[in-house]
Assembly symmetry: C2
Homo-oligomer: 391 residues x 2
Amino acid sequence: MTAAVIRMLDDERLRPAAARVRPDVDPDEVIARVAWSVLVEPGDGVAGTLIAEHGARRALQMAVGESSLLAPGSLGSQQLSEALARWRPRARAQAVVDAMASCADIGGRLLLPGDELWPAGLDDLGVHGPLVLWARGDLRACAGPATVSIVGARAATGYGESVAAELAGDLAASGVVVISGGAYGIDGAAHRAALGAGGTTIAFLAGGMDRAYPAGHQQLFDRIRARGAVLSEVPCGSAPTKWRFLQRNRLIAAAGMATVVVEAGWRSGSLNTAGHAAALGRPLGAVPGPVSSAASAGCHRLLREYDAVCVTSAQDVRELWDDVVAEPVPTESISPDQIRLLDALSGRTPRDAAEIARLSGLDASRVRSLLGLLGLDGTVEQVRDGWRRTS
Amino acid sequence: MTAAVIRMLDDERLRPAAARVRPDVDPDEVIARVAWSVLVEPGDGVAGTLIAEHGARRALQMAVGESSLLAPGSLGSQQLSEALARWRPRARAQAVVDAMASCADIGGRLLLPGDELWPAGLDDLGVHGPLVLWARGDLRACAGPATVSIVGARAATGYGESVAAELAGDLAASGVVVISGGAYGIDGAAHRAALGAGGTTIAFLAGGMDRAYPAGHQQLFDRIRARGAVLSEVPCGSAPTKWRFLQRNRLIAAAGMATVVVEAGWRSGSLNTAGHAAALGRPLGAVPGPVSSAASAGCHRLLREYDAVCVTSAQDVRELWDDVVAEPVPTESISPDQIRLLDALSGRTPRDAAEIARLSGLDASRVRSLLGLLGLDGTVEQVRDGWRRTS
């Protein structure tokens, strides 16, 4: 296999294909990154470590070239040899050419780490971050100054979809890029509301960005591309497998400045996204709902067990990243003595200060000073036979 | 005034009246405590401190007897003289006699701190605790081994009342004494459900226990007395003033092992109870509801800003005091590699190990061992042309 693998990098179709997706970048770098995107499943930390330590090109030569080139680095030799055994069955030049060509054919673009438009939050994933992003749409959305991930159950209720739409619409209207996963239910409601508010939205897909998944969202994805972006770390043609869904969730969690779960069943996949957000130290919000609603059970679980913040409005969501100090518990704006004094006053029968002192349990001089104070703002009034409340 | 004040304690009607409410206790102690209950408004920390330092009788002699008897103790002289000016307008023997007689007339009883049936949690209020409790009903309820305070909005929704009833009914059925404030809405629903479940419930009133407040709950209070208790720290005939409502809330918070707010508006009085519970270090729960419901806004505020625990079931409430360790976030019970392997298998078309390795991005030997493992539990099966999923 080694010889075939080495030949993979010499395939003459690679450079023209690379020029189609990124004419502005050294083709060897493009080819190496794309090859990695073809070789590994999302979140492969061994590949990420190798690339971080040696760069994509040299790491690729190590991985699919001569084994003897492999420097131990921070990886154990067993870890490395297991990884090579994983990667090599996929080492075909055709797959790398196809990945680039199919992207170019549908007008897509390749984003690379370090690009100006590379979503900054993804860097926090470290060696588990995506190696490339396949992208379609208006990629300026990827560099949005403020981003929020709004996710939730596919089996959402009307309540959940309406709250998702309210939050996403409000936030998008104020310039926040709304990130979600393009699924039915909460995701779709969030994307749609962001677009409806004239804002920008990003969908991270688990499969290739050439496939509408779910198929019923083909039109929605078309609309997202017109004013935002559809992104995936796996090449066109890749199926949205369960593993890729779980890994896709880490991209959603990392790309948003905060993650909000609107509705989620007790074991919803959205809790996986929430777990990623928490692991990354991203603020995590959960929208409450009726305790009788199974679609809110996961949100209540996040509130109860995972210290999610209860969010009920777009303003609450903004405060997730604004780190606003909580206001004090509402207390009476009038003093305890004032309350007691007012308790002792009637709106009809005037009472004299001595009577008010006895009724309120306040001493007479305190009563007089309070009456004076409350008389100033019109809360009490003095009449011929004493004092009474005005309201 | 001093002479009149001293004479107050010599009134010959005091001892017979004291014997009617507590024949088993030294009448001087009963008279002193009741006199304090008449002199002060609830939560008077100066009175509490004086009593803690000198005992009720001597403190009373200091307060309404000769001023020269006053020992400075931990109170400042200005604080003391202000307090005397508050208390003395109420120093009438008639009021003390009336307090005891009116209690006895309606079959009530007087509870004193240290009594076996004195609700233990109230001691945590320290010098702000009640000086006596006027009580009616089956007072064994006061010594319940487990107690929970369930409170909320008077302007409750059907949703809130139904959740309150579910929580209170379930908890009461398992022997937990349900404490509330006897108001319309959530309070009433909690009391009723506790009774309906054959359990025990306690209502703390803001006014005298001889008055049904609200009047529409007269029948409910009758039912509570049959199997639980109606308690108040102010004597019969006392009006339920706003101050007394606010102070009553501290009794509810202190008497329960935990406080649960079921529904509350943004500035509901229930938040005052919640604040007392938090100040006392009592676990605080809040029931979530639709974000669109104004009646849940206060609960969401407690969750969001005051670290209340999200409770959705009676079991959640029990865990408030059981201090149960949270379970880990739900994760896949099968390993990441198993997910990837299963993603690469079809339920119809059999695939050989090499094909599965390529599709899954796992190495061939790992694929073989996983197939063996999953074959054992029947998740995959080997057929003539390879492997496939069984489900």
